[in-house]
Assembly symmetry: C2
C-alpha cells in the first residue's frame, strides 16, 4: 500500500493593495492579480466592497474598517489579525482605500509582519488626494497658477492639526487636506492669517462614488457653508487658485461637463 | 431601387488617461476601457508602449513624446493635433505617463478642445510621485516621522526652480521633486541652508520599470554621488526622514525584500 502525504507548507505573505478612491474601475490590474491570489482579505470602510468579487470563492474576508463612532479595530489589532491569518492561511491581502502609503499606515503593517518572516508585496493605488479633485476638474497643478501641491491630514498622531499647514499657507502650493472636516474652522483661520481669505476652496465628499457631493467657496465662506450643508468626512479639502478652474466658476457658455467613457 | 446613405456623424471627444508610473500592471480598468474606445491615441515617452495593445486594430497612433534633445512637439502643436484628429476621427485618447493633472498639462488640453465643442472625460493614473518611492519601500507619510508630503517639479514655466522649495524645506513634509536632475545641486543647497544637510535623500530613476535604478544619500552627499553614477531624468528626488525607512538603511537581519505577486 502506498501512502502519499501532502504537506502543504504555509508561506505567510502580506500584500498591501491600494483600492483607489472609490470607483471600482479606478483599480489596477496588479490589484486584481493580488486579490485573485489572496487566501485572506482584510478590508477597510473606504475600499469598494465590489472589489472582493475578484477573490477566490473560499477566501476569508475580514472587515477591519474604522467607521466613525465605532472604531472596529485598532491598528495594533489589525497588525495581529494580519499575522494570525497569514500564519494560518498564507497570503493576506490588506485592501485599503486610496494608497497604502498616503496616510494609510501601510508601512507600520509591513514593519510588524517582518518580525514573523512574512514575504511582502505592494500594489500602489490611485490616491484620492489627486484623483478626487481631478474628477471635479480641479488639477492640483496648472502652469502659471502654481508650482507645487502639498498633502496633509486632519488626523495626525497627536490629534492636533499639523504645524505644516501654516507653512504651506505661505506658498503657492495647492493644499489638499484629507479627513479634516472636524478641523475646517481651524484650517480656514490659518489661511486667513496669511492673507488668503479670498482664496477659493473646494470640499469633495465621497469622491468618485455615486454619493459624491461637493461644495465651493472661499477661505472666508467655506466653513459656514459646509456646516449648513452638513458635509462631513470622508471628504477632501482643496485650497488654492486651481479651484477657480472648477466648471461652476466658468461662464455658462464656457463650461465643461465630464462624460463617463462609453 | 433603394439607396441607403449612412451619415456617420463624428462626435469629437478627448479622454485624458493617466498611464501610471511605467509598470503596465499599474494601469486602471477605466484606462483600458478608454483605450478600447479610442479612434486615435496620442502618447508620451513616459507612457508604457505595451498599453497600446488594448486599442482597436485600426486605431491611429501618434507619438508626441518630448525626449530630451529632440522636443518632438510643443504643447501648442499637441493641442492642435488633438483637435484635428478629434474632428476627423472622433475619440482621441491622450495617454500620459503618471497622472494627467500632476504636472501633466492635462488641464491646458481640456481648455483648448472645449473651444471646439469636444466632449471630455478623465481617467486618473497612478502618480509616479507617490508610487515610485512606494515601490522602493519609502512611504511618503509615516506616523511619528512626518505629517505631510509636498510635490513639485524642476521644470516650471519660468525654467527656474520653484520658490516653494525653500518653504517646503522648512516643514516636516517629505519633499518629492519630479524631473529635476539638472537642478539637483541647487535643490540640495536650499535644504542645507535650512540646516538639513544630514536629511536622507533618495533618487529613483525609471521607477517601476525593468530599468529602475536608485541612489541613497543625504542632502550633503547626494549630488556628487548622482553625478558620479550618471543618474539623470526621468527621476524622482525624495527628501525627508521617511527615506531612512528604505531597506538598505535597515540592519541586514531586519531587511525587507519586496516580492512581485505570483
Amino acid at each position: 500500500m502506498l501512502l502519499i502525504f501532502y504537506m502543504i507548507e504555509i508561506k505567510p505573505h502580506l500584500t498591501l493593495v491600494g483600492a483607489g478612491p472609490g470607483d471600482p474601475e479606478l483599480f489596477t490590474l496588479k490589484g486584481i492579480k493580488a486579490l485573485k491570489a489572496a487566501d485572506v482579505v482584510l478590508y477597510d470602510a473606504l475600499a469598494n466592497d465590489s472589489l472582493l468579487e475578484y477573490c477566490k470563492e473560499d477566501v476569508v474576508k475580514i472587515f477591519v474598517g474604522k467607521r466613525r463612532g465605532s472604531c472596529a479595530f485598532s491598528q495594533e489589532e489589525i497588525n495581529h489579525l494580519i499575522v494570525e491569518n497569514g500564519l494560518k492561511y498564507g497570503h493576506v491581502v490588506r485592501l485599503k482605500g486610496g494608497d497604502s502609503f498616503v496616510f494609510g499606515r501601510g508601512y507600520e503593517e509591513i514593519e510588524f509582519v517582518r518580525k514573523y518572516n512574512f514575504g511582502v508585496s505592494i500594489v500602489p493605488g490611485i490616491s484620492s488626494s489627486i484623483a478626487v479633485p481631478e474628477m471635479q476638474l480641479i488639477p492640483l497643478t496648472a502652469r502659471g497658477l502654481n508650482e507645487s501641491f502639498w498633502v496633509t491630514t486632519g488626523t495626525t498622531k497627536s490629534g492636533e492639526l499639523s504645524k505644516d499647514i501654516a507653512i504651506a499657507a505661505q506658498s503657492s502650493a495647492t493644499v489638499v487636506i484629507l479627513m479634516a472636516m472636524s478641523k475646517l474652522e481651524e484650517i480656514t483661520t490659518i489661511f486667513s492669517t496669511f492673507g488668503k481669505s479670498t482664496t477659493p476652496v473646494a470640499i469633495i465628499q465621497h469622491g468618485t462614488t455615486p454619493k459624491e457631493n461637493y461644495l465651493l467657496g472661499t477661505v472666508a465662506t467655506i466653513a459656514p457653508l459646509a456646516r449648513a450643508k452638513g458635509i462631513d468626512n470622508p471628504a477632501i479639502i482643496v485650497v488654492g487658485d486651481v479651484v477657480n478652474l472648477h466648471p461652476d466658476f466658468l461662464s455658462r457658455n464656457d463650461s465643461i461637463h465630464l462624460f463617463d467613457i462609453s
